[in-house]
Symmetry: C2
Subunit: 129 residues, 2 copies
DNA sequence: TTCAAGTATTCGATTATTCGAATGTATAAA
DNA sequence: TTTATACATTCGAATAATCGAATACTTGAA
Protein backbone atom coordinates (compact mmCIF):
# COMPACT_ATOMS: atom_id res chain seq x y z
CA UNK A 1 0.00 0.00 0.00
CA UNK A 2 1.37 3.43 -0.94
CA UNK A 3 2.16 5.33 2.23
CA UNK A 4 -0.22 8.29 1.96
CA UNK A 5 -3.05 5.86 1.31
CA UNK A 6 -3.19 4.70 4.90
CA UNK A 7 -4.72 8.10 5.50
CA UNK A 8 -7.61 7.41 3.12
CA UNK A 9 -7.97 3.80 4.13
CA UNK A 10 -8.16 4.83 7.77
CA UNK A 11 -10.91 7.31 6.98
CA UNK A 12 -12.86 4.70 5.11
CA UNK A 13 -12.52 2.29 8.01
CA UNK A 14 -13.57 4.96 10.45
CA UNK A 15 -16.89 5.18 8.64
CA UNK A 16 -17.40 1.50 9.37
CA UNK A 17 -16.32 1.64 12.98
CA UNK A 18 -19.49 2.62 14.79
CA UNK A 19 -22.13 0.09 15.83
CA UNK A 20 -25.04 2.08 14.45
CA UNK A 21 -23.35 2.69 11.13
CA UNK A 22 -22.41 -0.95 10.91
CA UNK A 23 -26.00 -1.91 11.62
CA UNK A 24 -27.19 0.42 8.87
CA UNK A 25 -24.80 -1.13 6.38
CA UNK A 26 -25.94 -4.58 7.41
CA UNK A 27 -29.52 -3.60 6.77
CA UNK A 28 -28.65 -2.24 3.37
CA UNK A 29 -26.83 -5.41 2.42
CA UNK A 30 -30.13 -7.12 1.90
CA UNK A 31 -31.79 -4.35 0.01
CA UNK A 32 -32.52 -0.63 -0.11
CA UNK A 33 -34.29 0.94 2.82
CA UNK A 34 -35.61 4.38 3.58
CA UNK A 35 -34.94 6.15 6.83
CA UNK A 36 -38.32 5.27 8.30
CA UNK A 37 -37.64 1.59 7.75
CA UNK A 38 -34.36 1.95 9.60
CA UNK A 39 -35.95 3.77 12.49
CA UNK A 40 -38.17 0.79 13.08
CA UNK A 41 -35.24 -1.58 13.19
CA UNK A 42 -32.44 0.35 14.86
CA UNK A 43 -32.33 1.50 18.48
CA UNK A 44 -31.60 5.10 17.52
CA UNK A 45 -33.54 8.32 16.95
CA UNK A 46 -34.28 9.76 13.56
CA UNK A 47 -31.81 12.63 13.80
CA UNK A 48 -29.06 10.31 14.86
CA UNK A 49 -29.69 7.93 12.01
CA UNK A 50 -29.58 10.85 9.59
CA UNK A 51 -26.29 11.93 11.10
CA UNK A 52 -24.80 8.51 10.61
CA UNK A 53 -26.17 8.34 7.08
CA UNK A 54 -24.39 11.61 6.39
CA UNK A 55 -21.12 10.07 7.52
CA UNK A 56 -21.71 7.05 5.30
CA UNK A 57 -22.55 9.30 2.37
CA UNK A 58 -19.36 11.28 2.78
CA UNK A 59 -17.43 8.03 2.79
CA UNK A 60 -19.21 7.13 -0.46
CA UNK A 61 -20.53 3.97 1.12
CA UNK A 62 -24.19 4.79 0.54
CA UNK A 63 -26.33 6.98 -1.66
CA UNK A 64 -30.07 7.46 -1.98
CA UNK A 65 -32.79 7.80 -4.57
CA UNK A 66 -35.68 10.07 -3.76
CA UNK A 67 -39.18 8.68 -4.04
CA UNK A 68 -41.66 11.39 -3.19
CA UNK A 69 -40.93 12.37 0.33
CA UNK A 70 -38.99 9.19 1.04
CA UNK A 71 -35.29 8.72 0.58
CA UNK A 72 -34.34 5.18 -0.22
CA UNK A 73 -30.78 4.47 0.71
CA UNK A 74 -28.66 1.82 -0.97
CA UNK A 75 -25.03 0.70 -0.93
CA UNK A 76 -22.85 2.68 -3.32
CA UNK A 77 -20.12 0.06 -3.22
CA UNK A 78 -21.89 -3.16 -2.36
CA UNK A 79 -18.88 -5.36 -3.08
CA UNK A 80 -16.67 -3.43 -0.71
CA UNK A 81 -19.24 -3.45 2.06
CA UNK A 82 -20.17 -7.10 1.71
CA UNK A 83 -16.62 -8.34 1.51
CA UNK A 84 -15.47 -6.22 4.39
CA UNK A 85 -18.32 -7.35 6.60
CA UNK A 86 -17.66 -10.96 5.64
CA UNK A 87 -14.03 -10.65 6.70
CA UNK A 88 -14.96 -9.09 10.00
CA UNK A 89 -17.64 -11.63 10.81
CA UNK A 90 -15.37 -14.58 10.17
CA UNK A 91 -13.43 -15.53 13.21
CA UNK A 92 -9.87 -16.05 12.36
CA UNK A 93 -8.02 -18.09 15.00
CA UNK A 94 -5.46 -16.23 17.06
CA UNK A 95 -1.95 -17.50 16.51
CA UNK A 96 0.80 -17.50 19.09
CA UNK A 97 4.39 -17.54 17.95
CA UNK A 98 7.60 -18.46 19.71
CA UNK A 99 10.71 -16.29 19.70
CA UNK A 100 12.42 -18.93 17.56
CA UNK A 101 9.75 -18.75 14.86
CA UNK A 102 9.93 -14.99 14.92
CA UNK A 103 13.66 -15.12 14.52
CA UNK A 104 13.42 -17.47 11.57
CA UNK A 105 10.84 -15.20 9.98
CA UNK A 106 13.03 -12.15 10.38
CA UNK A 107 15.92 -13.92 8.74
CA UNK A 108 13.78 -15.02 5.84
CA UNK A 109 12.64 -11.45 5.46
CA UNK A 110 16.19 -10.09 5.56
CA UNK A 111 17.25 -12.46 2.81
CA UNK A 112 14.26 -11.63 0.66
CA UNK A 113 15.01 -7.96 1.04
CA UNK A 114 18.62 -8.41 -0.01
CA UNK A 115 17.45 -10.12 -3.19
CA UNK A 116 14.97 -7.34 -3.92
CA UNK A 117 17.65 -4.73 -3.47
CA UNK A 118 20.04 -6.58 -5.74
CA UNK A 119 17.56 -7.02 -8.57
CA UNK A 120 16.43 -3.43 -8.22
CA UNK A 121 19.91 -1.97 -8.50
CA UNK A 122 20.52 -4.32 -11.41
CA UNK A 123 17.52 -2.95 -13.24
CA UNK A 124 18.58 0.58 -12.47
CA UNK A 125 22.01 0.05 -13.96
CA UNK A 126 20.45 -1.54 -17.00
CA UNK A 127 18.49 1.62 -17.78
CA UNK A 128 16.03 3.32 -15.47
CA UNK A 129 12.69 4.90 -16.46
CA UNK B 1 -24.85 -10.88 11.63
CA UNK B 2 -26.35 -11.30 15.11
CA UNK B 3 -27.40 -7.89 16.39
CA UNK B 4 -25.16 -7.51 19.45
CA UNK B 5 -22.17 -8.40 17.32
CA UNK B 6 -22.10 -5.07 15.54
CA UNK B 7 -20.78 -3.80 18.85
CA UNK B 8 -17.77 -6.13 18.70
CA UNK B 9 -17.29 -5.73 14.99
CA UNK B 10 -17.30 -1.97 15.37
CA UNK B 11 -14.64 -2.17 18.06
CA UNK B 12 -12.49 -4.35 15.90
CA UNK B 13 -12.83 -1.93 13.02
CA UNK B 14 -12.03 0.98 15.26
CA UNK B 15 -8.66 -0.59 15.95
CA UNK B 16 -7.99 -0.46 12.22
CA UNK B 17 -9.20 3.04 11.68
CA UNK B 18 -6.18 5.13 12.49
CA UNK B 19 -3.47 5.89 9.95
CA UNK B 20 -0.61 5.01 12.28
CA UNK B 21 -2.18 1.76 13.36
CA UNK B 22 -2.91 0.87 9.77
CA UNK B 23 0.69 1.60 8.88
CA UNK B 24 1.87 -0.65 11.71
CA UNK B 25 -0.34 -3.48 10.50
CA UNK B 26 0.95 -3.00 6.98
CA UNK B 27 4.49 -3.29 8.23
CA UNK B 28 3.69 -6.45 10.10
CA UNK B 29 2.09 -8.02 7.06
CA UNK B 30 5.50 -8.65 5.64
CA UNK B 31 7.09 -9.93 8.76
CA UNK B 32 7.61 -9.40 12.47
CA UNK B 33 9.18 -6.15 13.60
CA UNK B 34 10.28 -4.75 16.91
CA UNK B 35 9.39 -1.30 18.04
CA UNK B 36 12.75 0.17 17.09
CA UNK B 37 12.28 -1.03 13.52
CA UNK B 38 8.91 0.69 13.40
CA UNK B 39 10.29 3.92 14.77
CA UNK B 40 12.64 4.11 11.82
CA UNK B 41 9.83 3.66 9.35
CA UNK B 42 6.86 5.50 10.83
CA UNK B 43 6.55 9.25 11.35
CA UNK B 44 5.67 8.86 15.04
CA UNK B 45 7.46 8.90 18.37
CA UNK B 46 8.26 5.84 20.41
CA UNK B 47 5.65 6.45 23.08
CA UNK B 48 2.98 6.98 20.49
CA UNK B 49 3.84 3.80 18.64
CA UNK B 50 3.68 1.91 21.92
CA UNK B 51 0.29 3.41 22.61
CA UNK B 52 -1.02 2.30 19.25
CA UNK B 53 0.49 -1.14 19.75
CA UNK B 54 -1.42 -1.37 23.00
CA UNK B 55 -4.65 -0.66 21.14
CA UNK B 56 -3.82 -3.33 18.58
CA UNK B 57 -2.97 -5.80 21.34
CA UNK B 58 -6.28 -5.21 23.08
CA UNK B 59 -8.04 -5.84 19.78
CA UNK B 60 -6.07 -9.09 19.53
CA UNK B 61 -4.66 -8.03 16.22
CA UNK B 62 -1.02 -8.26 17.28
CA UNK B 63 1.08 -9.94 19.92
CA UNK B 64 4.80 -10.00 20.61
CA UNK B 65 7.62 -12.35 21.51
CA UNK B 66 10.32 -11.00 23.72
CA UNK B 67 13.90 -11.33 22.54
CA UNK B 68 16.23 -9.94 25.16
CA UNK B 69 15.27 -6.35 25.56
CA UNK B 70 13.47 -6.26 22.21
CA UNK B 71 9.82 -6.99 21.66
CA UNK B 72 9.10 -8.41 18.27
CA UNK B 73 5.54 -7.81 17.24
CA UNK B 74 3.65 -10.01 14.84
CA UNK B 75 0.10 -10.36 13.56
CA UNK B 76 -2.08 -12.50 15.82
CA UNK B 77 -4.68 -12.98 13.10
CA UNK B 78 -2.77 -12.58 9.87
CA UNK B 79 -5.62 -13.82 7.68
CA UNK B 80 -8.02 -11.28 9.06
CA UNK B 81 -5.57 -8.42 8.70
CA UNK B 82 -4.43 -9.33 5.20
CA UNK B 83 -7.90 -9.92 3.86
CA UNK B 84 -9.29 -6.78 5.38
CA UNK B 85 -6.47 -4.67 4.03
CA UNK B 86 -6.91 -6.25 0.62
CA UNK B 87 -10.60 -5.34 0.58
CA UNK B 88 -9.89 -1.78 1.59
CA UNK B 89 -7.11 -1.29 -0.94
CA UNK B 90 -9.20 -2.52 -3.82
CA UNK B 91 -11.22 0.22 -5.38
CA UNK B 92 -14.71 -0.90 -5.90
CA UNK B 93 -16.59 1.25 -8.44
CA UNK B 94 -19.33 3.45 -7.08
CA UNK B 95 -22.74 2.52 -8.38
CA UNK B 96 -25.62 4.91 -8.95
CA UNK B 97 -29.14 3.57 -8.93
CA UNK B 98 -32.38 4.95 -10.29
CA UNK B 99 -35.61 5.16 -8.32
CA UNK B 100 -37.05 2.48 -10.63
CA UNK B 101 -34.28 0.02 -9.84
CA UNK B 102 -34.67 0.71 -6.15
CA UNK B 103 -38.39 0.07 -6.40
CA UNK B 104 -37.84 -3.23 -8.18
CA UNK B 105 -35.34 -4.23 -5.53
CA UNK B 106 -37.68 -3.43 -2.70
CA UNK B 107 -40.39 -5.52 -4.28
CA UNK B 108 -38.05 -8.44 -4.76
CA UNK B 109 -37.09 -8.12 -1.11
CA UNK B 110 -40.71 -8.00 0.04
CA UNK B 111 -41.50 -11.18 -1.89
CA UNK B 112 -38.45 -12.99 -0.53
CA UNK B 113 -39.43 -12.01 2.98
CA UNK B 114 -42.94 -13.35 2.54
CA UNK B 115 -41.50 -16.70 1.49
CA UNK B 116 -39.16 -16.75 4.47
CA UNK B 117 -42.01 -16.04 6.84
CA UNK B 118 -44.14 -18.78 5.29
CA UNK B 119 -41.46 -21.45 5.49
CA UNK B 120 -40.55 -20.40 9.01
CA UNK B 121 -44.10 -20.67 10.33
CA UNK B 122 -44.40 -23.97 8.48
CA UNK B 123 -41.35 -25.31 10.26
CA UNK B 124 -42.67 -24.05 13.58
CA UNK B 125 -45.98 -25.83 13.14
CA UNK B 126 -44.15 -29.00 12.17
CA UNK B 127 -42.41 -29.15 15.53
CA UNK B 128 -40.41 -26.42 17.18
CA UNK B 129 -37.30 -26.96 19.35
C1' DT C 1 25.03 -3.51 41.96
C1' DT C 2 24.85 0.10 38.63
C1' DC C 3 23.81 1.39 34.07
C1' DA C 4 21.97 1.83 29.45
C1' DA C 5 18.87 0.35 25.94
C1' DG C 6 14.30 -0.74 24.61
C1' DT C 7 9.76 -0.34 25.55
C1' DA C 8 5.43 0.72 28.35
C1' DT C 9 2.45 3.54 31.08
C1' DT C 10 0.60 7.70 33.14
C1' DC C 11 -0.88 12.33 32.91
C1' DG C 12 -2.74 16.49 31.01
C1' DA C 13 -3.99 19.23 27.29
C1' DT C 14 -6.09 19.30 22.79
C1' DT C 15 -9.06 17.81 19.39
C1' DA C 16 -12.68 14.78 17.52
C1' DT C 17 -16.98 12.08 17.93
C1' DT C 18 -21.34 11.39 19.48
C1' DC C 19 -26.02 12.38 20.85
C1' DG C 20 -30.41 14.79 21.83
C1' DA C 21 -33.06 18.85 21.26
C1' DA C 22 -34.49 22.18 18.38
C1' DT C 23 -35.10 23.85 13.96
C1' DG C 24 -34.98 23.83 8.87
C1' DT C 25 -36.42 22.05 4.25
C1' DA C 26 -38.82 19.61 0.59
C1' DT C 27 -42.72 17.19 -1.11
C1' DA C 28 -47.42 15.90 -1.50
C1' DA C 29 -51.99 16.06 -0.15
C1' DA C 30 -55.91 18.68 1.33
C1' DT D 1 -51.91 28.12 0.59
C1' DT D 2 -51.91 25.50 4.68
C1' DT D 3 -50.55 21.31 6.72
C1' DA D 4 -48.40 16.88 7.60
C1' DT D 5 -44.78 13.76 6.64
C1' DA D 6 -40.07 12.48 6.02
C1' DC D 7 -35.64 13.79 6.50
C1' DA D 8 -31.58 16.86 7.25
C1' DT D 9 -28.90 20.18 9.68
C1' DT D 10 -27.27 22.97 13.50
C1' DC D 11 -25.93 23.61 18.17
C1' DG D 12 -24.13 22.58 22.56
C1' DA D 13 -22.86 19.45 26.03
C1' DA D 14 -20.78 15.09 27.23
C1' DT D 15 -17.57 11.65 26.20
C1' DA D 16 -13.73 9.54 23.85
C1' DA D 17 -9.38 9.54 21.15
C1' DT D 18 -4.95 11.38 20.41
C1' DC D 19 -0.40 13.12 21.38
C1' DG D 20 3.89 14.68 23.75
C1' DA D 21 6.34 14.88 27.98
C1' DA D 22 7.68 12.69 31.82
C1' DT D 23 8.33 8.61 34.20
C1' DA D 24 8.42 3.67 35.16
C1' DC D 25 9.71 -0.98 34.03
C1' DT D 26 12.68 -4.83 32.36
C1' DT D 27 16.63 -6.91 30.63
C1' DG D 28 21.44 -7.72 29.77
C1' DA D 29 25.99 -6.06 30.21
C1' DA D 30 29.64 -3.92 32.81
Amino acid sequence: MPPEDSQNAAELLKAFSHPTRLAILLELVDGPKCVTDMEEILPARQANISQHLAVLRHAKLVDYAQDGTLRCYYLSRPRLVKDLLAVVERDDPVVKRTPAEIQADKERLAKAKAVTRASKSGREKAGKR
